[in-house]
């Protein structure tokens, strides 16, 4: 998650101190991604190191204020005008689990899909209830929250569709022996560090 860019973007509005930044971030993102205050300060330290912000003074209660620099403003503009990269594969636990499951013998992939789909549908029902009980937005913060909620709903829906698709692909693939699961490849170990037994055998 882009905590660094988010905090910098909020700082473009004016100087802030750590707790204030955390509150502003959470308020503007519907409280969806709570921030640890330690994470806020370590991010501010890195931003300061990179000369994107600087400390401007100390408040009545000893809190340090941070202000954005010109380089920081350029970084904000670049972030807001550049697309978020979708070219690399994010590490998705479910995709990894299914990928391994279809290649290893003795794993009931259909059961994995079914269990996951039930859980994912329940999550979708829960998100939908939140949406059902939400009134039309009456502030920018409400609007931000409704967009975040919709984003989660669409993501979870996509997972259900992908699971359905995987299930039908699996049914078709079962007829093809070439794609049957197989045990760990014995040859692969030779590429790594040789075992002692192998070395002795070689002598």
């Amino acid at each position: 998650m882009s905590v660094r860019q988010s905090l910098l973007t909020i700082l473009e509005q004016g100087p802030c101190y750590g707790y204030q930044l955390r509150t502003e971030f959470e308020r503007r993102t519907g409280g969806t991604w709570p921030l640890n205050i330690g994470q806020v300060y370590s991010t501010l330290d890195r931003l300061e190191r990179d000369r994107l912000v600087e400390r401007t003074g100390v408040g009545d209660e000893g809190q340090h204020y941070y202000e954005i620099t010109d380089a920081g403003r350029d970084a904000v503009r670049l972030w807001l005008t550049s697309p978020v990269s979708r070219t690399g594969a994010t590490r998705d636990e479910l995709a990894i689990k299914l990928a391994l499951a279809v290649t290893l013998p003795g794993v009931d992939v259909a059961a994995i899909i079914q269990t996951q789909r039930t859980a994912t549908l329940r999550a979708l029902q829960d998100l939908t209830r939140m949406k059902m009980t939400s009134d039309a937005p009456t502030s920018a913060d409400d609007l931000a929250w409704s967009l975040v909620l919709e984003s989660l709903i669409f993501t979870v829906e996509a997972e259900v569709r992908w699971l359905d698709h995987s299930e039908s692909v699996l049914v078709r693939a079962r007829a093809n022996a070439a794609v049957a699961p197989r045990p760990v490849d014995g040859d692969a170990t030779r590429r790594g560090r040789p075992s002692k037994a192998t070395e002795e055998h070689a002598r």
């Binding site: 409280g31 079914q114 549908l121 329940r122 029902q125 939908t128 909620l149 829906e157």
Partner: protein, 240 residues
């Protein structure tokens, strides 16, 4: 729990014989209670539509029993079945199925008048039903003068008018854009929350999620059921 509004008990439906036989439904058990919306999901050919036509008493199953509002459908004559359907069930279709030559209120009053209600009484009930879907002011408009979303809301009013208790909706949002589809689902949900029962056939998980229970069909069998159990999403805690 009170007895269900609809109970499908071991329902099976087979078409054809021998090598061409098709098992459209195999041993399906399903209950729908008052105040409960059940979504049926599944790929094309999974048996969704067959299930809806059997639940609506339009087709008799090959085996198993359908109990609707306490009545065993297998024991009813065709005439009794038609009367029960007219008084208990309301259908909502993807393409609205309103009569173009009738106004919104006439469309909603039609099933009551067919059931022998006096026109004045039927119109009063229809006006109330249109009010519940926030269309009282469009009562005298013809379907062609209404948007798709408004037409579908008229169809929902028609499905529940006169105290009919079970709404059977077949892809009711299929012809609507995303926002209008949601307005229609909100109306459907609200009718159910006020005591009706509903079956919502959809291929769209986002729409199925408005239901209390989601039933998955594959090759005529129920393979999965997800019930809303008030699962606490971590978001709730953050929002509190």
């Amino acid at each position: 729990m009170t007895s269900p509004l609809l109970h499908l008990d071991g329902v099976a439906m087979h078409y054809g014989t021998g090598s061409t036989a098709v098992n459209a439904l195999v041993g399906v058990d399903l209950q729908v209670h008052h105040g409960e919306l059940v979504a049926i999901m599944g790929a094309s050919g999974s048996g969704k539509s067959t299930l809806l036509t059997i639940a609506g008493g339009l087709v008799r199953p090959t085996s198993g029993e359908v109990i609707l509002a306490g009545q065993w459908l297998s024991q009813l004559s065709a005439g009794q079945l038609a009367t029960l359907r007219r008084r208990t069930l309301g259908f909502v279709f993807q393409d609205f199925n309103l009569v173009p030559a009738l106004t919104a209120i006439e469309n909603v009053a039609l099933p009551l008048e067919l059931d022998g209600w006096k026109t004045k009484k039927a119109r009063r009930a229809a006006r109330d039903a249109l009010g519940t879907v926030e269309l009282a002011e469009q009562a005298d408009r013809y379907p062609d003068d209404l948007s798709g979303g408004q037409q579908q809301r008229v169809a929902i009013a028609r499905a529940v008018v006169g105290g009919r208790a079970l709404i059977l909706a077949d892809e009711p949002t299929g012809a609507l854009d995303s926002h209008t589809g949601e307005v229609v689902l909100r109306m459907l949900r609200s009718r159910v929350d006020q005591g009706a029962g509903g079956i919502l056939v959809t291929h769209d998980a986002r729409h199925a999620a408005w239901a209390d229970r989601i039933v998955f069909l594959r090759d005529g069998r129920v393979v999965d059921q997800a019930e809303y159990a008030g699962v606490e999403h971590t978001l709730r805690a953050h929002r509190a």
